[in-house]
Protein backbone atom coordinates (compact mmCIF):
# COMPACT_ATOMS: atom_id res chain seq x y z
CA UNK A 1 0.00 0.00 0.00
CA UNK A 2 2.66 2.40 1.12
CA UNK A 3 4.83 1.43 -1.77
CA UNK A 4 2.05 1.91 -4.28
CA UNK A 5 1.57 5.45 -3.11
CA UNK A 6 5.23 6.22 -3.35
CA UNK A 7 5.72 4.83 -6.78
CA UNK A 8 2.75 6.84 -7.82
CA UNK A 9 4.38 10.12 -6.83
CA UNK A 10 7.45 9.05 -8.66
CA UNK A 11 5.53 8.12 -11.75
CA UNK A 12 3.95 11.55 -11.81
CA UNK A 13 7.18 13.37 -11.24
CA UNK A 14 9.10 11.25 -13.68
CA UNK A 15 6.52 11.83 -16.35
CA UNK A 16 7.00 15.55 -16.16
CA UNK A 17 10.75 15.26 -16.20
CA UNK A 18 10.78 12.83 -19.04
CA UNK A 19 8.41 15.01 -20.96
CA UNK A 20 10.90 17.81 -20.59
CA UNK A 21 13.89 15.89 -21.74
CA UNK A 22 11.76 14.94 -24.71
CA UNK A 23 12.59 11.31 -24.74
CA UNK A 24 9.92 8.86 -23.89
CA UNK A 25 12.00 5.83 -23.00
CA UNK A 26 14.33 7.63 -20.67
CA UNK A 27 13.02 6.01 -17.52
CA UNK A 28 14.38 2.57 -18.15
CA UNK A 29 17.80 3.72 -19.19
CA UNK A 30 18.61 5.92 -16.33
CA UNK A 31 17.49 3.40 -13.78
CA UNK A 32 20.50 1.52 -15.00
CA UNK A 33 22.78 4.53 -14.79
CA UNK A 34 21.70 5.24 -11.28
CA UNK A 35 21.73 1.74 -10.03
CA UNK A 36 25.31 2.31 -10.95
CA UNK A 37 27.82 0.32 -12.74
CA UNK A 38 27.69 -2.86 -10.76
CA UNK A 39 26.05 -4.50 -13.75
CA UNK A 40 27.80 -2.36 -16.28
CA UNK A 41 31.13 -2.93 -14.69
CA UNK A 42 30.54 -6.66 -14.56
CA UNK A 43 29.67 -6.71 -18.23
CA UNK A 44 32.87 -4.95 -18.99
CA UNK A 45 35.10 -7.58 -17.51
CA UNK A 46 34.25 -9.85 -20.38
CA UNK A 47 36.00 -7.60 -22.83
CA UNK A 48 38.30 -5.87 -20.41
CA UNK A 49 41.27 -6.17 -22.68
CA UNK A 50 39.47 -3.91 -25.07
CA UNK A 51 38.64 -0.32 -24.27
CA UNK A 52 37.01 0.20 -20.87
CA UNK A 53 33.52 1.51 -20.61
CA UNK A 54 30.86 1.95 -18.00
CA UNK A 55 29.97 4.42 -15.34
CA UNK A 56 31.38 4.66 -11.84
CA UNK A 57 29.65 6.39 -8.99
CA UNK A 58 31.59 7.41 -5.92
CA UNK A 59 30.33 9.28 -2.89
CA UNK A 60 31.41 10.16 0.61
CA UNK A 61 34.07 12.24 2.36
CA UNK A 62 34.01 15.86 1.32
CA UNK A 63 37.68 16.14 2.25
CA UNK A 64 38.63 13.46 -0.26
CA UNK A 65 36.21 14.62 -2.95
CA UNK A 66 38.51 17.17 -4.69
CA UNK A 67 41.26 14.58 -5.10
CA UNK A 68 38.98 11.88 -6.45
CA UNK A 69 37.37 14.38 -8.82
CA UNK A 70 40.73 15.48 -10.14
CA UNK A 71 42.01 11.93 -10.66
CA UNK A 72 38.68 10.96 -12.21
CA UNK A 73 39.01 13.75 -14.73
CA UNK A 74 42.45 12.54 -15.77
CA UNK A 75 41.26 8.95 -15.92
CA UNK A 76 38.37 9.90 -18.15
CA UNK A 77 40.68 11.78 -20.51
CA UNK A 78 42.45 8.56 -21.44
CA UNK A 79 39.44 6.25 -20.99
CA UNK A 80 36.76 8.17 -22.82
CA UNK A 81 34.26 5.35 -22.49
CA UNK A 82 34.19 5.58 -18.72
CA UNK A 83 32.12 8.11 -16.87
CA UNK A 84 32.96 8.78 -13.23
CA UNK A 85 30.76 10.79 -10.94
CA UNK A 86 32.12 11.86 -7.58
CA UNK A 87 29.75 13.08 -4.92
CA UNK A 88 30.16 14.39 -1.41
CA UNK A 89 27.78 13.75 1.42
CA UNK A 90 30.28 12.86 4.13
CA UNK A 91 32.12 9.67 5.08
CA UNK A 92 29.06 8.21 6.78
CA UNK A 93 26.96 8.67 3.67
CA UNK A 94 29.64 7.16 1.47
CA UNK A 95 29.99 4.08 3.67
CA UNK A 96 26.22 3.63 3.93
CA UNK A 97 25.77 3.91 0.21
CA UNK A 98 28.59 1.57 -0.74
CA UNK A 99 27.43 -0.97 1.84
CA UNK A 100 23.95 -0.87 0.28
CA UNK A 101 25.43 -0.99 -3.22
CA UNK A 102 23.97 2.36 -4.18
CA UNK A 103 27.41 3.53 -5.24
CA UNK A 104 30.48 1.70 -6.51
CA UNK A 105 32.99 3.45 -4.32
CA UNK A 106 32.53 4.89 -0.86
CA UNK A 107 35.10 7.51 0.11
CA UNK A 108 35.91 7.73 3.77
CA UNK A 109 38.52 9.39 5.95
CA UNK A 110 38.16 6.75 8.65
CA UNK A 111 38.25 2.96 8.64
CA UNK A 112 34.83 1.53 7.84
CA UNK A 113 34.98 -0.49 11.04
CA UNK A 114 34.93 2.72 13.07
CA UNK A 115 31.66 3.91 11.56
CA UNK A 116 29.91 0.64 10.90
CA UNK A 117 29.97 -1.08 14.25
CA UNK A 118 27.65 -3.09 16.49
CA UNK A 119 24.70 -4.14 14.36
CA UNK A 120 26.38 -2.98 11.17
CA UNK A 121 29.71 -4.73 11.73
CA UNK A 122 29.01 -7.36 9.09
CA UNK A 123 28.42 -4.64 6.52
CA UNK A 124 31.92 -3.37 7.18
CA UNK A 125 33.32 -6.88 6.71
CA UNK A 126 32.02 -7.00 3.15
CA UNK A 127 33.83 -3.81 2.20
CA UNK A 128 37.26 -3.87 0.60
CA UNK A 129 39.61 -1.09 1.60
CA UNK A 130 41.74 0.83 -0.91
CA UNK A 131 44.09 3.26 0.82
CA UNK A 132 44.81 5.89 -1.78
CA UNK A 133 46.43 8.67 0.19
CA UNK A 134 47.46 9.84 3.62
CA UNK A 135 46.38 13.00 5.35
CA UNK A 136 48.41 14.45 8.16
CA UNK A 137 46.81 16.71 10.71
CA UNK A 138 48.63 19.46 12.54
CA UNK A 139 47.70 21.42 15.63
CA UNK A 140 47.50 25.09 14.75
CA UNK A 141 47.03 28.26 16.74
CA UNK A 142 46.32 31.93 16.22
CA UNK A 143 49.61 33.58 15.14
CA UNK A 144 49.85 35.66 18.31
CA UNK A 145 49.59 32.80 20.79
CA UNK A 146 53.35 32.81 21.13
CA UNK A 147 53.97 29.08 21.18
CA UNK A 148 55.93 27.02 18.66
CA UNK A 149 55.57 23.54 19.98
CA UNK A 150 53.33 21.60 22.32
CA UNK A 151 53.84 18.23 23.93
CA UNK A 152 51.25 15.52 23.81
CA UNK A 153 50.42 16.09 27.48
CA UNK A 154 50.02 19.83 26.96
CA UNK A 155 47.63 19.22 24.07
CA UNK A 156 45.61 16.78 26.16
CA UNK A 157 45.44 19.31 29.00
CA UNK A 158 44.33 22.05 26.61
CA UNK A 159 41.64 19.96 24.92
CA UNK A 160 40.33 18.65 28.23
CA UNK A 161 40.21 22.16 29.69
CA UNK A 162 42.93 21.81 32.33
CA UNK A 163 45.09 24.45 30.71
CA UNK A 164 43.09 27.56 29.99
CA UNK A 165 45.72 30.19 29.20
CA UNK A 166 48.58 30.28 26.72
CA UNK A 167 50.94 31.56 29.45
CA UNK A 168 50.70 28.15 31.14
CA UNK A 169 52.50 26.62 28.15
CA UNK A 170 54.98 29.44 27.74
CA UNK A 171 53.01 31.69 25.45
CA UNK A 172 51.30 35.05 25.66
CA UNK A 173 48.88 35.88 28.49
CA UNK A 174 45.82 35.07 26.47
CA UNK A 175 42.86 32.82 27.19
CA UNK A 176 42.75 29.69 25.03
CA UNK A 177 39.76 29.31 22.73
CA UNK A 178 39.27 25.79 21.38
CA UNK A 179 38.00 25.43 17.83
CA UNK A 180 37.01 21.77 17.69
CA UNK A 181 35.17 19.52 15.26
CA UNK A 182 31.85 17.80 15.91
CA UNK A 183 31.93 14.36 17.52
CA UNK A 184 31.10 12.68 14.21
CA UNK A 185 34.08 14.18 12.39
CA UNK A 186 36.77 11.90 10.96
CA UNK A 187 39.41 14.59 11.39
CA UNK A 188 38.59 14.79 15.09
CA UNK A 189 38.75 11.02 15.45
CA UNK A 190 42.23 11.03 13.88
CA UNK A 191 43.46 13.91 16.01
CA UNK A 192 42.14 12.39 19.22
CA UNK A 193 43.48 8.92 18.52
CA UNK A 194 46.97 9.81 17.34
CA UNK A 195 47.74 13.22 18.87
CA UNK A 196 45.91 13.06 22.17
CA UNK A 197 45.71 9.31 22.58
CA UNK A 198 42.37 9.70 24.28
CA UNK A 199 38.84 10.70 23.49
CA UNK A 200 37.95 14.10 24.82
CA UNK A 201 34.63 15.40 25.96
CA UNK A 202 33.31 18.60 24.51
CA UNK A 203 33.96 21.66 26.63
CA UNK A 204 31.42 24.28 27.44
CA UNK A 205 32.02 27.26 25.18
CA UNK A 206 34.24 25.48 22.67
CA UNK A 207 33.48 26.25 19.06
CA UNK A 208 32.78 23.37 16.69
CA UNK A 209 32.98 23.59 12.93
CA UNK A 210 32.96 20.69 10.53
CA UNK A 211 34.62 22.28 7.56
CA UNK A 212 38.33 22.94 7.35
CA UNK A 213 37.87 26.28 5.61
CA UNK A 214 35.74 27.63 8.44
CA UNK A 215 38.08 26.22 11.08
CA UNK A 216 41.04 27.94 9.45
CA UNK A 217 39.16 31.24 9.19
CA UNK A 218 38.15 31.03 12.85
CA UNK A 219 41.63 30.19 14.13
CA UNK A 220 43.15 32.98 12.08
CA UNK A 221 40.64 35.55 13.34
CA UNK A 222 40.06 34.55 16.95
CA UNK A 223 42.76 35.64 19.42
CA UNK A 224 44.02 32.71 21.48
CA UNK A 225 42.41 30.10 19.25
CA UNK A 226 43.72 26.56 18.89
CA UNK A 227 42.52 23.86 16.57
CA UNK A 228 43.77 21.34 14.06
CA UNK A 229 43.88 21.25 10.27
CA UNK A 230 44.98 18.96 7.50
CA UNK A 231 48.36 19.97 6.08
CA UNK A 232 46.81 21.03 2.79
CA UNK A 233 44.93 23.86 4.51
CA UNK A 234 47.91 25.38 6.30
CA UNK A 235 49.05 28.86 5.35
CA UNK A 236 50.35 32.07 6.94
CA UNK A 237 47.03 33.05 8.50
CA UNK A 238 47.54 30.41 11.20
CA UNK A 239 50.56 29.17 13.14
CA UNK A 240 51.46 25.51 12.76
CA UNK A 241 52.58 23.94 16.03
CA UNK A 242 55.20 21.23 16.34
CA UNK A 243 54.08 18.09 18.11
CA UNK A 244 56.46 16.89 20.80
CA UNK A 245 59.09 18.88 18.95
CA UNK A 246 58.44 17.16 15.62
CA UNK A 247 57.51 19.38 12.71
CA UNK A 248 54.40 18.24 10.86
CA UNK A 249 56.12 17.99 7.49
CA UNK A 250 55.55 15.55 4.67
CA UNK A 251 58.96 13.95 5.20
CA UNK A 252 58.32 13.38 8.89
CA UNK A 253 55.00 11.75 8.12
CA UNK A 254 56.49 9.46 5.49
CA UNK A 255 59.27 8.36 7.83
CA UNK A 256 56.75 7.75 10.59
CA UNK A 257 58.25 10.33 12.96
CA UNK A 258 55.12 12.43 12.98
CA UNK A 259 52.26 10.24 14.17
CA UNK A 260 49.13 12.31 13.53
CA UNK A 261 47.98 11.04 10.18
CA UNK A 262 45.26 8.85 8.70
CA UNK A 263 44.59 7.00 5.51
CA UNK A 264 42.07 8.19 2.97
CA UNK A 265 40.00 5.17 2.03
CA UNK A 266 38.05 4.27 -1.06
CA UNK A 267 35.85 1.30 -0.24
CA UNK A 268 34.28 -1.10 -2.69
CA UNK A 269 31.67 -3.69 -1.87
CA UNK A 270 33.58 -6.89 -2.62
CA UNK A 271 36.65 -6.99 -4.84
CA UNK A 272 36.35 -4.41 -7.62
CA UNK A 273 36.12 -5.45 -11.25
CA UNK A 274 36.22 -3.83 -14.65
CA UNK A 275 36.27 -0.07 -14.83
CA UNK A 276 36.17 0.34 -11.05
CA UNK A 277 39.26 -1.81 -10.64
CA UNK A 278 41.03 0.02 -13.44
CA UNK A 279 40.25 3.35 -11.84
CA UNK A 280 41.46 2.28 -8.39
CA UNK A 281 44.60 0.76 -9.89
CA UNK A 282 45.21 3.98 -11.77
CA UNK A 283 44.85 5.86 -8.48
CA UNK A 284 47.82 3.98 -7.03
CA UNK A 285 50.14 4.43 -10.00
CA UNK A 286 53.10 6.74 -9.56
CA UNK A 287 51.66 8.94 -12.27
CA UNK A 288 48.83 9.89 -9.93
CA UNK A 289 50.50 9.48 -6.56
CA UNK A 290 53.39 11.82 -7.32
CA UNK A 291 51.36 14.47 -9.13
CA UNK A 292 47.69 14.97 -8.25
CA UNK A 293 47.95 13.54 -4.75
CA UNK A 294 50.88 15.79 -3.87
CA UNK A 295 49.47 18.78 -5.66
CA UNK A 296 46.27 18.65 -3.60
CA UNK A 297 48.21 18.50 -0.36
CA UNK A 298 47.96 14.78 0.38
CA UNK A 299 50.79 12.42 1.06
CA UNK A 300 51.13 9.49 -1.37
CA UNK A 301 50.12 6.24 0.31
CA UNK A 302 52.63 4.36 -1.81
CA UNK A 303 55.58 6.29 -0.36
CA UNK A 304 54.76 5.70 3.29
CA UNK A 305 57.56 3.87 5.06
CA UNK A 306 55.21 2.74 7.80
CA UNK A 307 51.74 1.27 7.70
CA UNK A 308 48.97 1.15 10.19
CA UNK A 309 46.02 -1.18 10.76
CA UNK A 310 42.52 -0.60 12.10
CA UNK A 311 43.66 -0.87 15.71
CA UNK A 312 46.32 1.77 15.12
CA UNK A 313 49.35 -0.58 15.30
CA UNK A 314 52.18 0.86 13.30
CA UNK A 315 54.60 -1.39 11.46
CA UNK A 316 57.62 -0.42 9.41
CA UNK A 317 57.37 -1.58 5.84
Amino acid sequence: MQFKKKSWIMALALTSVVALSACGNNGGNNAATNNTGNNTAANNTQNSSAELSGSILASGSTALQPLVEQVAERFMETNTGVDIQVQGGGSGTGLTQVAEKQVDIGNSDVFAEEKLKDDDAEKAAALVDHQVAVVAIAAVSHPDAGVDSLTKQQLVDIFTGKIKNWSEVGGADQAIQIINRPASSGTRATFETFALGTKTEDLQGSIQEDSSGTVKKMIGETPGAIGYLALSYLDDSVKTLNYDGVEPSVDNVISGDYPVWAYQHMYTNGEPTGAVKAFLDYFLTDEVQTTDVVELGYIPASQMQVSRDVEGNVTTK
Partner: protein, 298 residues
Protein backbone atom coordinates in the same frame (compact mmCIF):
# COMPACT_ATOMS: atom_id res chain seq x y z
CA UNK B 1 4.55 63.57 29.80
CA UNK B 2 2.35 65.62 27.57
CA UNK B 3 0.53 63.57 24.94
CA UNK B 4 1.96 65.80 22.25
CA UNK B 5 5.56 65.21 23.36
CA UNK B 6 4.91 61.48 23.65
CA UNK B 7 3.49 61.55 20.15
CA UNK B 8 6.58 63.29 18.81
CA UNK B 9 8.96 60.89 20.53
CA UNK B 10 7.01 57.84 19.39
CA UNK B 11 6.86 59.07 15.81
CA UNK B 12 10.60 59.71 15.80
CA UNK B 13 11.30 56.24 17.15
CA UNK B 14 9.02 54.58 14.59
CA UNK B 15 10.54 56.49 11.71
CA UNK B 16 14.05 55.81 12.97
CA UNK B 17 13.46 52.07 13.25
CA UNK B 18 11.77 51.91 9.85
CA UNK B 19 14.72 53.71 8.33
CA UNK B 20 17.03 51.31 10.17
CA UNK B 21 15.50 48.44 8.20
CA UNK B 22 16.16 50.32 4.98
CA UNK B 23 19.70 50.93 6.20
CA UNK B 24 20.14 47.22 6.98
CA UNK B 25 19.09 46.29 3.46
CA UNK B 26 21.29 48.92 1.86
CA UNK B 27 24.17 47.82 4.06
CA UNK B 28 23.63 44.16 3.21
CA UNK B 29 23.27 44.71 -0.52
CA UNK B 30 26.11 47.22 -0.50
CA UNK B 31 28.42 44.85 1.32
CA UNK B 32 27.62 41.92 -0.94
CA UNK B 33 27.85 43.92 -4.14
CA UNK B 34 30.97 45.91 -3.20
CA UNK B 35 32.80 42.75 -2.20
CA UNK B 36 31.50 40.67 -5.06
CA UNK B 37 31.04 42.89 -8.10
CA UNK B 38 34.75 43.37 -8.63
CA UNK B 39 35.11 39.66 -9.08
CA UNK B 40 32.30 39.21 -11.58
CA UNK B 41 33.29 39.04 -15.18
CA UNK B 42 32.08 37.19 -18.22
CA UNK B 43 34.81 34.67 -17.60
CA UNK B 44 33.73 34.16 -13.97
CA UNK B 45 30.15 33.54 -15.07
CA UNK B 46 31.02 31.00 -17.73
CA UNK B 47 34.15 29.13 -16.72
CA UNK B 48 34.28 26.02 -14.55
CA UNK B 49 35.48 26.20 -10.96
CA UNK B 50 39.11 25.42 -10.14
CA UNK B 51 39.91 23.19 -7.23
CA UNK B 52 43.25 24.48 -6.06
CA UNK B 53 44.21 27.21 -8.49
CA UNK B 54 42.88 30.74 -8.48
CA UNK B 55 40.64 32.05 -11.22
CA UNK B 56 37.84 29.51 -11.14
CA UNK B 57 34.35 30.49 -12.21
CA UNK B 58 30.82 29.46 -11.46
CA UNK B 59 29.55 28.65 -14.97
CA UNK B 60 28.24 25.11 -14.36
CA UNK B 61 26.74 26.13 -11.01
CA UNK B 62 24.85 29.02 -12.56
CA UNK B 63 23.56 26.73 -15.29
CA UNK B 64 22.59 24.09 -12.72
CA UNK B 65 20.66 26.62 -10.66
CA UNK B 66 18.69 27.77 -13.68
CA UNK B 67 18.10 24.27 -15.00
CA UNK B 68 16.98 23.05 -11.60
CA UNK B 69 14.60 25.99 -11.42
CA UNK B 70 13.10 25.08 -14.78
CA UNK B 71 12.71 21.44 -13.75
CA UNK B 72 11.08 22.41 -10.47
CA UNK B 73 8.65 24.79 -12.12
CA UNK B 74 7.78 22.17 -14.74
CA UNK B 75 6.69 19.88 -11.95
CA UNK B 76 5.12 22.37 -9.58
CA UNK B 77 3.26 24.72 -11.90
CA UNK B 78 0.85 22.17 -13.38
CA UNK B 79 0.33 20.44 -10.04
CA UNK B 80 0.03 23.69 -8.13
CA UNK B 81 -2.44 25.12 -10.64
CA UNK B 82 -4.56 21.99 -10.41
CA UNK B 83 -4.67 21.87 -6.65
CA UNK B 84 -5.08 25.64 -6.34
CA UNK B 85 -8.01 25.79 -8.74
CA UNK B 86 -9.60 22.88 -6.95
CA UNK B 87 -9.29 24.67 -3.62
CA UNK B 88 -10.67 27.92 -5.01
CA UNK B 89 -13.47 26.73 -7.27
CA UNK B 90 -14.41 23.13 -6.53
CA UNK B 91 -13.79 22.38 -2.86
CA UNK B 92 -16.88 22.79 -0.75
CA UNK B 93 -16.25 24.46 2.57
CA UNK B 94 -16.06 21.82 5.23
CA UNK B 95 -13.78 19.63 7.26
CA UNK B 96 -11.97 18.13 4.30
CA UNK B 97 -11.21 21.48 2.67
CA UNK B 98 -10.08 22.81 5.98
CA UNK B 99 -7.82 19.84 6.41
CA UNK B 100 -6.25 20.29 3.00
CA UNK B 101 -5.68 23.95 3.71
CA UNK B 102 -3.93 22.91 6.92
CA UNK B 103 -1.72 20.57 4.94
CA UNK B 104 -0.76 23.34 2.55
CA UNK B 105 0.10 25.54 5.48
CA UNK B 106 2.18 22.88 7.23
CA UNK B 107 4.01 21.90 4.05
CA UNK B 108 4.95 25.47 3.26
CA UNK B 109 6.34 26.05 6.73
CA UNK B 110 8.43 22.88 6.98
CA UNK B 111 12.08 23.73 7.54
CA UNK B 112 13.99 23.19 4.34
CA UNK B 113 16.45 20.92 6.11
CA UNK B 114 13.61 18.52 6.93
CA UNK B 115 12.61 18.53 3.29
CA UNK B 116 16.22 17.82 2.36
CA UNK B 117 16.49 14.91 4.78
CA UNK B 118 13.20 13.49 3.57
CA UNK B 119 14.52 13.77 0.04
CA UNK B 120 17.74 11.99 1.04
CA UNK B 121 15.85 9.15 2.63
CA UNK B 122 13.07 8.62 0.13
CA UNK B 123 14.17 10.01 -3.22
CA UNK B 124 17.93 9.58 -3.11
CA UNK B 125 18.21 6.31 -1.21
CA UNK B 126 14.87 4.53 -1.41
CA UNK B 127 14.00 5.30 -5.02
CA UNK B 128 17.66 5.11 -5.85
CA UNK B 129 17.68 8.28 -7.90
CA UNK B 130 20.98 9.20 -6.28
CA UNK B 131 22.19 12.74 -5.88
CA UNK B 132 20.69 14.20 -9.01
CA UNK B 133 18.86 17.15 -10.48
CA UNK B 134 15.63 15.14 -10.41
CA UNK B 135 16.03 14.42 -6.71
CA UNK B 136 16.70 18.10 -6.11
CA UNK B 137 13.71 19.18 -8.17
CA UNK B 138 11.42 16.74 -6.36
CA UNK B 139 12.63 17.98 -2.96
CA UNK B 140 12.11 21.57 -4.02
CA UNK B 141 8.65 20.60 -5.22
CA UNK B 142 7.72 19.72 -1.66
CA UNK B 143 7.94 23.29 -0.53
CA UNK B 144 7.30 25.08 -3.76
CA UNK B 145 4.07 23.22 -4.42
CA UNK B 146 2.14 24.56 -1.40
CA UNK B 147 3.29 28.05 -2.34
CA UNK B 148 1.93 27.58 -5.86
CA UNK B 149 -1.34 26.23 -4.49
CA UNK B 150 -1.75 29.24 -2.27
CA UNK B 151 -0.84 31.69 -5.02
CA UNK B 152 -3.29 30.10 -7.44
CA UNK B 153 -6.08 29.90 -4.91
CA UNK B 154 -5.70 33.53 -3.92
CA UNK B 155 -5.49 34.66 -7.53
CA UNK B 156 -8.72 32.83 -8.42
CA UNK B 157 -10.51 34.14 -5.37
CA UNK B 158 -9.57 37.67 -6.31
CA UNK B 159 -11.43 37.44 -9.62
CA UNK B 160 -14.68 39.46 -9.38
CA UNK B 161 -17.75 37.25 -8.87
CA UNK B 162 -19.62 38.88 -11.75
CA UNK B 163 -17.21 37.40 -14.29
CA UNK B 164 -18.00 33.90 -13.11
CA UNK B 165 -21.72 34.59 -12.95
CA UNK B 166 -21.67 35.98 -16.47
CA UNK B 167 -20.10 32.74 -17.59
CA UNK B 168 -22.79 30.67 -15.91
CA UNK B 169 -25.44 32.89 -17.46
CA UNK B 170 -24.03 32.03 -20.86
CA UNK B 171 -24.51 28.37 -20.03
CA UNK B 172 -20.81 27.53 -20.03
CA UNK B 173 -19.64 24.44 -18.22
CA UNK B 174 -17.67 24.95 -15.05
CA UNK B 175 -14.47 23.74 -16.67
CA UNK B 176 -14.95 26.20 -19.53
CA UNK B 177 -15.47 29.03 -17.07
CA UNK B 178 -12.35 28.10 -15.16
CA UNK B 179 -10.12 27.82 -18.19
CA UNK B 180 -11.52 30.55 -20.42
CA UNK B 181 -12.91 33.14 -18.03
CA UNK B 182 -11.17 32.92 -14.68
CA UNK B 183 -7.70 31.73 -15.63
CA UNK B 184 -6.85 34.66 -17.92
CA UNK B 185 -7.90 37.15 -15.26
CA UNK B 186 -6.00 35.34 -12.53
CA UNK B 187 -2.91 34.77 -14.68
CA UNK B 188 -1.00 37.99 -13.95
CA UNK B 189 -1.19 37.38 -10.20
CA UNK B 190 -0.17 33.77 -10.67
CA UNK B 191 2.80 34.68 -12.82
CA UNK B 192 3.99 37.33 -10.38
CA UNK B 193 3.70 34.86 -7.52
CA UNK B 194 5.48 32.13 -9.46
CA UNK B 195 8.45 34.32 -10.29
CA UNK B 196 8.73 35.45 -6.68
CA UNK B 197 8.63 31.85 -5.48
CA UNK B 198 11.26 31.04 -8.08
CA UNK B 199 13.60 33.37 -6.24
CA UNK B 200 13.33 31.16 -3.19
CA UNK B 201 14.05 28.04 -5.21
CA UNK B 202 17.06 29.76 -6.70
CA UNK B 203 18.59 30.55 -3.34
CA UNK B 204 17.80 27.29 -1.59
CA UNK B 205 20.76 25.36 -0.30
CA UNK B 206 19.92 23.29 2.78
CA UNK B 207 17.45 21.03 0.99
CA UNK B 208 19.72 20.59 -2.02
CA UNK B 209 22.89 19.58 -0.18
CA UNK B 210 21.23 16.28 0.62
CA UNK B 211 19.44 15.77 -2.70
CA UNK B 212 21.05 17.42 -5.72
CA UNK B 213 24.50 16.73 -4.34
CA UNK B 214 27.54 18.87 -3.89
CA UNK B 215 29.46 17.94 -6.96
CA UNK B 216 29.27 18.81 -10.59
CA UNK B 217 30.62 16.36 -13.14
CA UNK B 218 32.39 17.78 -16.16
CA UNK B 219 29.83 19.26 -18.47
CA UNK B 220 30.16 19.22 -22.19
CA UNK B 221 28.18 22.20 -23.39
CA UNK B 222 28.19 21.00 -26.96
CA UNK B 223 26.43 17.77 -26.02
CA UNK B 224 22.71 18.34 -25.81
CA UNK B 225 21.61 14.74 -25.68
CA UNK B 226 19.76 14.44 -22.36
CA UNK B 227 20.75 10.78 -22.05
CA UNK B 228 24.47 11.35 -22.08
CA UNK B 229 26.00 11.59 -18.61
CA UNK B 230 28.13 14.59 -19.45
CA UNK B 231 25.31 16.49 -21.12
CA UNK B 232 24.20 19.57 -19.22
CA UNK B 233 20.60 18.59 -19.93
CA UNK B 234 20.76 15.15 -18.30
CA UNK B 235 18.41 15.44 -15.33
CA UNK B 236 19.92 12.39 -13.66
CA UNK B 237 23.36 13.83 -13.05
CA UNK B 238 24.40 15.34 -9.71
CA UNK B 239 24.43 19.08 -9.75
CA UNK B 240 25.80 21.66 -7.41
CA UNK B 241 23.81 24.87 -7.51
CA UNK B 242 25.14 28.35 -6.94
CA UNK B 243 23.86 28.56 -3.36
CA UNK B 244 25.36 25.19 -2.47
CA UNK B 245 28.60 26.25 -4.15
CA UNK B 246 28.82 29.32 -1.91
CA UNK B 247 28.41 27.05 1.08
CA UNK B 248 31.04 24.63 -0.15
CA UNK B 249 33.61 27.21 -1.20
CA UNK B 250 33.18 28.96 2.12
CA UNK B 251 33.75 25.82 4.10
CA UNK B 252 35.98 23.51 2.10
CA UNK B 253 37.46 25.70 -0.61
CA UNK B 254 41.14 25.01 -1.26
CA UNK B 255 41.52 27.61 -3.98
CA UNK B 256 43.54 30.63 -2.87
CA UNK B 257 40.78 32.99 -4.00
CA UNK B 258 37.97 31.06 -2.23
CA UNK B 259 36.81 34.15 -0.34
CA UNK B 260 36.54 36.20 -3.54
CA UNK B 261 34.67 33.38 -5.29
CA UNK B 262 32.20 33.17 -2.42
CA UNK B 263 31.73 36.93 -2.52
CA UNK B 264 31.35 36.94 -6.30
CA UNK B 265 28.92 34.05 -6.27
CA UNK B 266 26.89 35.71 -3.50
CA UNK B 267 26.68 38.86 -5.60
CA UNK B 268 25.54 36.85 -8.63
CA UNK B 269 22.90 35.15 -6.50
CA UNK B 270 21.59 38.41 -5.07
CA UNK B 271 21.56 40.10 -8.46
CA UNK B 272 19.59 37.18 -9.91
CA UNK B 273 17.04 37.44 -7.12
CA UNK B 274 16.83 41.18 -7.80
CA UNK B 275 16.17 40.44 -11.46
CA UNK B 276 13.45 37.97 -10.47
CA UNK B 277 11.82 40.63 -8.32
CA UNK B 278 11.88 43.23 -11.06
CA UNK B 279 10.72 40.71 -13.65
CA UNK B 280 7.80 39.70 -11.45
CA UNK B 281 6.63 43.29 -11.21
CA UNK B 282 7.16 44.01 -14.88
CA UNK B 283 5.53 40.81 -16.15
CA UNK B 284 2.54 41.15 -13.87
CA UNK B 285 1.88 44.66 -15.09
CA UNK B 286 2.56 43.85 -18.73
CA UNK B 287 0.27 40.86 -18.90
CA UNK B 288 -2.44 42.59 -16.96
CA UNK B 289 -2.37 45.49 -19.39
CA UNK B 290 -2.36 43.18 -22.38
CA UNK B 291 -5.22 41.03 -21.15
CA UNK B 292 -7.42 43.90 -20.09
CA UNK B 293 -6.73 45.79 -23.30
CA UNK B 294 -7.69 42.82 -25.44
CA UNK B 295 -10.89 42.51 -23.45
CA UNK B 296 -11.88 46.02 -24.33
CA UNK B 297 -11.35 45.43 -28.01
CA UNK B 298 -13.70 42.50 -28.12
Amino acid sequence: MKPRTADKIATTVIVALALLIVAILIGLLGYILVRGLGHISWDFLTSAPQKIRAGGGVGPQLFNSLFLLVLTLLITVPLGLGAGIFMAEYARPGRLTNFIRLIVEVLSSFPSIIVGLFGLLLIVNYFDLGFSLVSGALALTVFNLPLMVRITEQAFRAVPKQQKEAGFALGLSKWKIVTSVLLPVALPTIITGTILSAGRVFGEAAALMFTAGMSSPRLDFSNWNPLSPSSPLNPFRPAETLAVHIWKVNSEGLAPDAAEIAAGASAVLVITVLIFNLAARFFGRYIYRKLTASKRMN
